[in-house]
């Protein structure tokens, strides 16, 4: 049931809304249908980011892709938490735990989803920053990828989302935005830092291709 609701929301309603009103130019993502399991890694400037990536996915795989969202925001109470899990299909992550390095448990939810065969959408910057500026990437996903070498990562760069709906903005002010997909890549290194540098370079390369 959730599968069809997600398809209807993202591939139909949101796709039309984002295309016609917001002005998002989607990239062709049909190649994702052939990928077994992947992690989409993108820059993050707006709440529209997750919705746009979801809407850009081929509708047949939408239910297999889980965005990783901040638990302190998208799970701040029971209703919102249920809403995020059902309508965004989100994995709720406790952001604060990662920096403490205490138990490693924040990654557990992500690892569980990967083990179950889900693909992920993740913003390694951790939070929405200033429009068109990249922050340093968090290492968490590098650790997960180094343990799961069969999972490919796909760099994505989004341009203009932060102008449509910036952090702190309450209303969408339409602005022509773009999503650009890179090619799927496999991780070779075991060092999460090295993996993150590679990912950052891939995203920045896409940025240069757009401009």
């Amino acid at each position: 049931m959730q599968k069809y609701i997600l398809r209807f929301i993202y591939s139909f309603i949101l796709r039309i809304f984002l295309k016609l009103i917001v002005g998002v130019k989607f990239d062709d993502a049909s190649f994702l249908e052939k990928e077994e399991q992947f992690v989409i890694l993108s820059n993050h400037n707006s709440h529209l980011d997750t919705l746009s990536i979801m809407a850009s996915l081929p509708s047949s795989i939408i239910h297999r892709v889980k965005p990783v969202a901040a638990g302190d925001y998208f799970g701040r109470n029971k209703i919102i938490s249920w809403f995020s899990r059902f309508f965004i299909n989100a994995i709720l992550l406790e952001r604060k735990g990662i920096t403490k390095k205490s138990s490693g448990s924040p990654l557990a939810a992500i690892e569980k989803a990967v083990d179950e065969g889900y693909s992920l959408i993740l913003f390694p910057e951790g939070t929405r920053g200033q429009p068109e500026k990249m922050k340093t990437l968090k290492r968490g996903i590098g650790i997960v990828l180094s343990k799961n070498k069969h999972v490919k990562y796909i760099p994505v760069y989004m341009d203009g989302m932060g102008k449509n709906l910036p952090k702190g903005g309450a209303l969408i002010v339409p602005y022509n935005a773009k999503i650009k997909y890179g090619t799927p890549k496999t991780v070779v290194s075991d060092d999460s830092k090295e993996i993150m540098t590679q990912i950052e370079n891939d995203i920045l390369t896409l940025k240069d291709e757009l401009h």
């Binding site: 016609l20 002005g23 130019k25 429009p131 203009g160 102008k163 910036p166 903005g169 209303l171 002010v173 339409p174 602005y175 022509n176």
Partner: protein, 318 residues
């Protein structure tokens, strides 16, 4: 309800039908021509011309279905065109983050302007953007309190509104003009006349420029604008305007002048948009229409010809 929204009298109107037929005739001719050239001279690179022609098919089809069968849909469609054009220009001109709320007000003025056209309140329609929005936009910017670069924002936002909303909304107002006895083609005929002449003028200037173009008019703005293209387009457009003058209530002399004016205004609009793109260093305003560039690259001339032709005819006939 259905009869209220859709009107099919276009099928009983031979004047409109013949011009619509002419449009599709020209498109068929162009498609066949490029197909033949592709077969005879495979080494000529005409892929851009082909994709342009394909886009013309799509645009003509959308324009005709959106404007010929339903008044209500016509207003919505032209309003949407304004919206996309506004968004495109806003996106490339580079505004401050603090301009967002003024921009939002500007977006809201689009449905209002088209609603005024829809109800045919001419007095409000004609002053809403030039006067009311002219006063409101700076006010909204000032309330935000960010003065650094505010002059540029005040002027550009209003200028984009004038170009993409005020200018284009004249296309919609044709449909609200009162009926003239003895003139059955009405607003639809005038709209078709305007859009067809503007676009055929673009095509003719492009074609004459490609074939005969030597002397550049303003090389610092566009290397593709030549005297040969401009004059060739001007003369042909005036002749074509004369040939389809049955769409208008104008006399022969008036229709010749109107067609000449449309050709000239179209050229000016094109030139102005080229200079803006030069200024910010982009070739096309976006990649919305294959072969053409952005929506603005296509309607830049319309935003000049629509008000020019509208006020000419409004003065003479209404």
């Amino acid at each position: 309800m259905f009869e209220k929204v859709f009107q099919f009298e276009v099928f009983n109107n031979n004047d409109l039908l013949s011009v619509i037929g002419l449009i599709f005739g020209i498109l068929t001719f162009a498609s066949l021509l490029f197909f033949a050239i592709g077969k005879i001279k495979p080494d000529w690179n005409i892929s851009e011309l082909k994709s342009r022609t394909r886009s013309w098919w799509v645009m003509s089809f959308i324009f005709i279905t959106a404007t010929m069968f339903s008044n209500t849909i016509s207003y919505i469609a032209i309003a949407f065109l304004s919206f996309v054009a506004f968004r495109e220009l806003y996106s490339i001109l580079g505004f401050r983050d603090s301009d967002r709320y003024a921009i939002l007000w500007a977006y809201f003025s689009i449905p209002i302007q088209y609603f005024l056209a829809f109800i045919g309140w001419y007095g409000a329609f004609i002053i809403f953007i030039p006067v009311i929005m002219f006063l409101l936009i700076p006010l909204r910017l000032v309330l935000k309190g960010d003065t650094k670069g505010i002059i540029k924002s005040m002027s550009s936002i209003h200028w984009i509104l004038m170009l993409t909303v005020f200018g284009l909304s004249h296309m919609a107002y044709f449909l609200s003009l009162p009926e003239i006895p003895e003139f059955k083609n009405g607003g639809r005929g005038l709209l078709l006349f305007l859009v067809f002449l503007t676009e055929i003028n673009d095509v003719l200037q492009f074609t004459f420029g490609k074939i005969f173009g030597k002397r550049k008019i303003i090389p610092s703005i566009s290397p593709n604008k030549t005297w040969e293209g401009f004059i060739g387009g001007l003369i042909c457009t005036t002749i074509i305007g004369y040939l389809i003058s049955f769409l208008t209530p104008l006399s022969t002399f008036e229709v010749l002048f109107a067609s000449f004016m449309i050709a000239f205004a179209g050229f000016s609009g094109d030139l102005v948009m080229s200079s803006i793109k030069r200024d910010i260093g982009v070739k096309d305003t976006s990649t919305a229409i294959p072969g053409h560039g952005g929506i603005l690259d296509r309607i830049d001339s319309l935003s000049f010809t629509a008000p020019a032709f509208f006020h000419f005819i409004y003065y003479l006939s209404y």
